[in-house]
């Protein structure tokens, strides 16, 4: 069973995603702010991270950069979740080192597709 770390500060979004992911068979860890997200990622080494961008304490870009520059966590695929749909956000995401990116409101089916792609890639 794969573990996904969800870093999201909005309670409802967190709740929805957690339950739906759990229904799909994932083990879900939650962090409610950037610093916590970073700590949990380093401690638990999840199989995938879903990173909301607008987080308190430290924003998603920063956490991504930190994790990607850390030898121990570099390999973890990160999908950035953002409410903004500007192309510049997409660029920023890839610049920070994200492996993929999705926009809110989330299309759960679309998101699942991205998650599965990344987990498959990771295995191979």
């Amino acid at each position: 069973m794969s573990t996904i770390l969800l870093v999201e500060d909005n309670e409802m979004n967190r709740d929805m995603l957690t339950r739906r992911l759990q229904k799909k068979g994932f083990n879900v860890l939650v962090a409610t702010d950037g610093v916590q997200g970073h700590t949990f990622a380093c401690a638990a080494i999840p199989d995938l991270i879903l990173m909301d961008i607008s987080l308190p304490e430290m924003n998603g870009w920063e956490v991504t950069r930190l994790l990607k520059s850390n030898q121990a966590t570099r390999h973890i695929p990160i999908i950035a979740l953002t409410a903004h749909a500007l192309a510049s956000d997409r660029e920023k995401a890839f610049e920070a080192g994200c492996d993929d990116y999705d926009t809110k409101p989330l299309d759960f089916v679309r998101l699942m597709g991205k998650i599965e792609t990344l987990l498959v890639v990771k295995k191979t």
Partner: protein
């Protein structure tokens, strides 16, 4: 106290007094001196006479050696106070009898007869030695001594007198001098005062008083002349100064005005910037704030639906689905409103990237399927072979297409919706043409007028019947405009509608600016080109022979020709005269033809001018890629050149490419 630095007054007085004192002293001294000498002479004569008399009186006594009688005679000398001693000597030189004035002790008198005759002065005494004789026979010698006291007292008197006199006359001289020195010093001191006053008060109207017509008077005249010259100069200076002051004041007030204007502008700018920032931040926040709860509504309702599916209680599925659809509708409304707000606020930017057109359309087709099948429509997609790559904002292109497609599907029942994509060349530019046709209810002429306006759907009932926000077309229209393209719509009520979007195959960022400017004139405004440049051809070539040749040939063909010898000049001229066509030599010194071509294409004013490359270099592809309208090899085939020019002239009519709503 140095004498030279004494005041004139003192100097003058000193000089006067010194002169008079010296003169007086010399005179008095010599006079008195002369007098005293005479007196001394007189005294000595007098004593000599006395000696004679006494000698005569004592002659008998001497002859008879009558000491007593002789002594009496001598004693009579007591009456003369100045006689200090009288001694009678016998012919052998011994003292016979003597008289010495009372209380006088003089050892020198105790000797023998002094060895002189006559008168002599010794030790401040006058002495006379006189031979006494009786009837011609010497009987002895008389020695008479006087202390000259008369002389001394006279001298003393004279001295005192002299002193007093000198003092008195000095005083008098002082008085007179002090009165008369003002003749000299007065004017000078007045002049000095005047000078002080002038320099202290800077008052050049004052004039020094002239007293007498002497050297000082002339000095004063000179001084006054100088003063009037200074006065003139000074008043000229003053008026220049005043003028300067007045000007400075004017300038200062102007500067103040400018500063105020500048401050106002700055604060207006800051206000505008603040407003702009507020708008951006509002849009960003609203975007986030509005979407978050909607996300929850849609997400949870999806979850409920899934759970219902799992539990099998299908009766509630419809209710949940309704929540979902309302949520989704609300979301698309919010997205549209936010998009429009952004466009209105001028905050909608373009993110350009190159993508494969055919691939993009294929990917989108699947998203149309639900809407197609909803109204039992059939979808036809026709993609030309040569679509290739497009450089544009892919998200916006997708949005436009989706909007057109969903409109077509919405308003068609049991009909056909077709999407045609082609690549075309208009003028010298390449365009992608997207056409969406439907066999739906169509749009009446009346409705077509409001087609691209916000918030106006064809009919209020339509929104109820067909859904939608009424904003989709307006947004698509604006998006197309932003990218430099244009929209047309054709329709026949009952038969169907055709919507056509032309987008440049290479959207450039500065098209946005050009389009915005046009927007202000209204979408139907066309900028007519002035008649004078209708047939102007600009020839850019560094070879004078070629230039000449082209010039003559083109003029003969009826064109107005302007030549330029290098790229820089050519660009400047092009900007100025906006020629109809530009012929461009590739190999040129300075900036070469490719660079010139690039710059022409980069300039919104010139980008649409057809450019014909004239060169010996065979590089057609590079030329076309950069946007050259065509390409001619040297040596120039005249007919070919003319044909090309004609072709371009006709191909691009004299109207700007904009969006009239054709019916």
């Amino acid at each position: 106290m140095k004498l030279q630095n004494l005041s004139i007054k003192r100097k003058l007085m000193l000089i006067t007094m010194l002169t008079s004192t010296v003169a007086l002293l010399l005179f008095s001294a010599s006079f008195l001196f002369y007098d005293l000498i005479s007196f001394r002479h007189f005294l000595s004569q007098d004593l000599a006479t006395q000696a004679e008399i006494i000698g005569y009186n004592s002659a008998a006594a001497m002859a008879f050696k009558d000491e007593a009688a002789a002594s009496v005679t001598l004693t009579a000398l007591k009456a003369k106070e100045d006689i200090t001693a009288a001694i009678l000597y016998t012919p052998d030189g011994k003292a016979f009898t003597r008289y010495v004035r009372a209380n006088l002790v003089d050892p020198s008198l105790n000797g023998n007869q002094p060895r002189f005759e006559g008168i002599r002065f010794r030790d401040s005494h006058l002495e006379v030695v006189h031979a006494v004789s009786l009837n011609g026979e010497p009987v002895g010698t008389l020695f008479l001594q006087s202390d000259m006291s008369q002389w001394y007292s006279r001298a003393k008197r004279y001295a005192i007198f002299l002193l007093v006199f000198m003092l008195g006359s000095d005083l008098l001289a002082l008085l007179i001098a002090s009165k008369l020195q003002t003749l000299i010093s007065g004017p000078i001191l007045r002049l000095e005062d005047t000078m002080h006053m002038v320099s202290a008060q800077k008052n050049y109207e004052v004039r020094a008083l002239k007293f007498y017509d002497d050297e000082i008077g002339r000095l004063i005249d000179g001084f006054n002349t100088m003063l009037s010259e200074i006065q003139q100069g000074d008043s000229a200076l003053q008026s220049a100064n005043d003028a300067l002051k007045a000007q400075t004041l004017e300038l200062e007030s102007e500067i103040l005005q400018r500063k105020q204007a500048q401050d106002e502008l700055l604060s207006a700018k800051r206000t505008a910037e603040d407003a702009s920032r507020a708008k951006s931040s509002f849009l960003a926040n609203m975007s986030h704030e509005l979407r978050t709860p909607l996300n929850a509504i849609i997400g949870y309702s999806e979850m409920i639906e899934e759970e219902i599916q799992d539990t099998g209680k299908f009766e509630n599925v419809q209710d949940v689905k309704k929540i979902q659809s309302a949520g989704k509708h609300l979301l698309s409304l919010i997205n549209d409103v936010l998009d429009l707000s952004k466009i209105e606020a001028g905050k909608m930017g373009l993110h350009l990237e190159s993508f494969d057109v055919a691939q993009m359309v294929q990917e989108m087709v699947s998203t149309f399927q639900p809407t197609i099948t909803k109204n039992s429509n059939t979808l036809q997609v026709n993609l030309a072979q040569d679509l290739g790559l497009m450089r544009a904002d892919v998200t916006k292109v997708r949005q436009i297409l989706f909007n057109l497609m969903s409109n077509a599907c919405k308003f068609t029942n049991n009909g056909t919706v077709s999407l045609d994509v082609q690549r075309t060349t208009k003028g010298d530019r390449e365009w992608l043409k997207f056409q969406v046709k439907d066999t739906g209810i169509g749009i009446s002429a009346e409705q077509q007028k409001n087609l691209f306006k916000e918030f106006v759907q064809a009919d209020a009932s339509i929104s109820r019947k067909y859904g939608g926000t009424g904003l989709g077309l307006a947004i698509s229209y604006r998006f197309a405009q932003l990218m430099g393209g244009h929209f047309t719509a054709e329709s026949e009520p009952g038969k169907g509608s055709t919507f056509t979007v032309h987008l440049p195959s290479k959207v450039s960022a500065d098209v946005v600016e050009a389009v915005k400017a046009k927007e202000n004139n209204g979408p139907l405004a066309e900028a007519p080109k002035p008649a004078t440049q209708a047939d102007t051809i600009l020839v850019i070539d560094d070879d004078p022979a070629v230039r000449d040749l082209m010039f003559r040939h083109l003029v003969k063909s009826g064109f107005h020709v302007v030549v330029a010898a290098d790229g820089e000049e050519g660009l400047k001229i092009a900007k100025r005269i906006q020629p109809r066509i530009i012929t461009l030599d590739v190999l040129m010194p300075g900036i070469d033809g490719w660079e010139v071509l690039r710059r022409i294409k980069a300039d919104p004013e010139l980008a649409e001018t057809p450019v014909i490359m004239v060169t010996i270099v065979d590089n057609e592809i590079m030329g076309l890629n950069l946007g050259s309208s065509n390409y001619v090899m040297k040596p120039v085939d005249r007919t070919l050149l003319t044909d090309l020019i004609e072709k371009h002239r006709k191909a691009r009519p004299s109207s700007s490419s904009d969006v009239p709503v054709a019916v």
